[in-house]
Amino acid sequence: MKKSKLGYLFVLPATLHLALFALFPLAYSVYISFYKWNLLTSTKEWMGLANYAYAFQDSLFWRAMGNSLRYAALSVPMGMVAGLLVAVLVNQRLRGMAAFRTLFYIPAISSGVAISMLWIYMYLPQTGFINSVLGAIGIDNRTDFLQNEGTAMFALAFMSVWVGLGPKMVLYLAGLLSIPASLYEAADLDGATKARAFFRITLPMLAPTSFFVLITSTIGAIQVFTPVYIMTKGGPRESTEVVGYHLYVEAWSKFLIGIASAKSFVLLLVIVALSIVQFRLMRRQLEGHAVS
């Protein structure tokens, strides 16, 4: 009994923090989602489900949702492949590898605003780094990546790969280190090539890690805000107006706090639904591997 009391005492600060800064705001925003309120007035008008009805009928909200999914579809696979490749590279036993691992992680702990500003300059037509490289190899270097509807979303997703490389690398590295060396020794004895070992041992053994990375990356991608806010403001022509930025505009430009809250819960439903789909697909895949 005494032991359990001590346990409760240990988790109390974290529980309080969670309750005050996560659960209470969450519950409060559910409450707000049924009202019309602009924050500054002393009264709130009861709207029932009208804010939710508005959310479902708002074409721009669904366009923003589609943009978020497009961003996730671009950034998550690229990020996972890059994270895995870098993890495999830094898993080599070479001198100075710890320094490389640190370098890859630095973007993840840097300011999102600073990184976004840096990439604005990277993407500048003619004078930007990317266009300079393209120009040096004879490719047209006047593309304004962030002002072009065809390239703006890809430019944001590409940047996110670089930013998210570190955390994905760490997760995959942990996964790689947990694969028993005996599996590779057995494959070696059987004459398997490195590539074959990678595809038949490494990738299947990393499936749980990949699943975790997929879920967390997808959720993170759908919630993206900072680079859009800093780099494109949702443009050009709303081609990068993702749902996180859309909610920000609803709340802080239009002061439609009730509608913004309702829309954020619709977003929550979408994320939960996506996660369930991913869980089911992954479970089926894992069960398939277990059987084979």
């Binding site: 009264t43 709130k44 008008e45 009861w46 304004d144």
Partner: protein
């Protein structure tokens, strides 16, 4: 029973309060002792690039503390997203004692009851004379008989021109108001090309910034909202506005007398400030930057009215005023500070930095000896307040304006782009 019922908000809420504490470092706080209250002053200014400007401001603020022993000033600057940050502060019950109010967002605070009516303070202070201030700027904070803000300074938007670039193109300086056709002709003559056809000097710097290009709508007889500010449909989607937008798009795309947005992005610099565009529309706040600009000096600059197809050009003014929030814990001390920053003594020294046109007529007149300041002051009678001074949520209208212009620049028919914008604005106005 009505299905829609009213409920009182339980603001200030602890969560909002906690967030505001994180953002602003706490609410009104006692000073080192009960006898030295801290007067919290909110402003959008950040760290100034201009060191001389910062020194002047600091010196003036220290003087207030010296003249009012026992009162300490605490500045809570929120550069960027000033309005949302202030709103969050108010929701938390941690509003400042004095706040700067921008004309373009004054309605958010005044119409939602966050500022005190200053008439009781004025009545108790016979030395305060409303007639010392420009009446049209004073009107930003006026609602019927109530007065919520006192002007600090302001600027009408003007057409700047670079005399050196005019000389280079052998074009005479503008001598008075010009219509759109004359402006286009001028911009064409100022656009210079090298032997290969590459532009070496543009006639005009175009920016997709609604406070700038709204002037072309106004000066073609159009407007963004209906006269009462209640809706955009029927006003924004007018033929006059479509013509004005088409005219602006043509400046960039057809006549190529202004760099397009990609070209501006390509250089990463302001074409007017670097001496590659001969004209731009902006406010007085640009001038301090030219004091230290190696490429364009203040002496290179001339100022005239914006192009207009109307008998009398119209412009907009952006003003900085001061108000006392209803949440102020020290309204008397706040009024004393407000009187100080709008005083002749303060403003004479403050405006010597060249930041804007003084809201006080006497100080403005004294500084009007300078030809540039005189040119600004000539335009004051034709300047009207931005819509945001009276309409809550105008910030959103300006954001939609940027999107609309972006669409038009990318090839959308101006009338359609304007209609889409009007629909969105009205949809927002219906639910705000």
């Amino acid at each position: 029973m009505n299905s829609r019922h009213q409920r009182r908000a339980f603001a200030p809420h602890p969560v909002w309060a906690a967030l505001a504490v994180l953002a602003f470092g706490g609410g009104c706080q006692p000073g080192p002792s009960q006898s030295t209250p801290i007067l919290r002053v909110a402003d959008w200014g950040g760290v100034a690039d201009d060191n001389a400007f910062s020194k002047t401001v600091n010196r003036l603020q220290r003087r207030f503390e010296e003249q009012n022993p026992g009162t300490k000033l605490r500045f809570e600057n929120a550069p960027g997203e000033y309005v949302p940050k202030m709103i969050l502060n108010f929701v938390a019950g941690a509003g400042p004692d004095v706040m700067s109010v921008d004309a373009s967002s004054a309605a958010v605070f005044i119409n939602n009851g966050q500022l005190r009516d200053l008439r009781p303070f004025m009545a108790a202070d016979p030395s305060f004379r409303p007639e010392d201030f420009w009446p049209n700027v004073m009107s930003v904070g006026a609602r019927e008989k109530a007065i919520y803000t006192i002007p600090g300074d302001f600027t009408p938007m003007v057409l700047y021109y670079n005399k050196r670039l005019f000389d280079r193109a052998r074009v005479p300086y503008p001598s008075g108001p010009m219509n759109f056709d004359q402006f286009l002709d001028l911009a064409k003559r100022l656009t210079l090309r090298d032997a290969k056809g590459n532009v070496t000097q543009y006639g005009f710097k175009f920016a997709n910034w609604m406070p700038m290009w709204i002037l072309f709508l106004w000066n073609n007889g159009g407007d963004v909202l209906s006269a009462d500010g209640a809706h955009a449909g029927g006003a924004l989607d007018s033929e006059e506005n479509a013509q004005a937008i088409r005219y602006l798009v043509d400046l960039v795309r057809t006549h190529k007398v202004a760099p397009d947005l990609s070209q501006t992005a390509a250089t990463g610099v302001d074409p007017f400030a670097t001496g590659t565009a001969a004209m731009m529309i902006s406010g007085h706040w640009e001038l301090p930057g030219f004091e230290t600009n190696p490429k364009v000096k203040v002496s290179d600059l001339g100022v005239t009215s914006v192009p207009s197809n109307l008998p009398q050009p119209v412009t907009v003014y952006y003003a900085k005023s001061f108000g006392i929030p209803t949440q102020s814990r020290s309204p008397e001390a706040a009024w004393k500070y407000l009187r100080y920053v709008t005083s002749r003594e303060f403003q004479t020294e403050y405006q010597s930095t060249g930041i804007a046109v003084c809201g006080r007529k006497d100080v403005a007149a004294a500084l009007g000896q300078d030809p540039l300041n005189r040119a600004f002051q000539r335009l004051i009678p034709s300047a009207r307040a931005p819509w945001g001074a009276k309409v809550v949520g105008y910030d959103f209208v300006e954001q939609e304006g940027v999107k609309m212009m972006q669409s038009a620049l990318l090839g959308a028919p101006p009338r359609e782009a304007l209609q889409q914008m009007a629909e969105r604005v009205d949809a927002y106005f219906r639910v705000r």
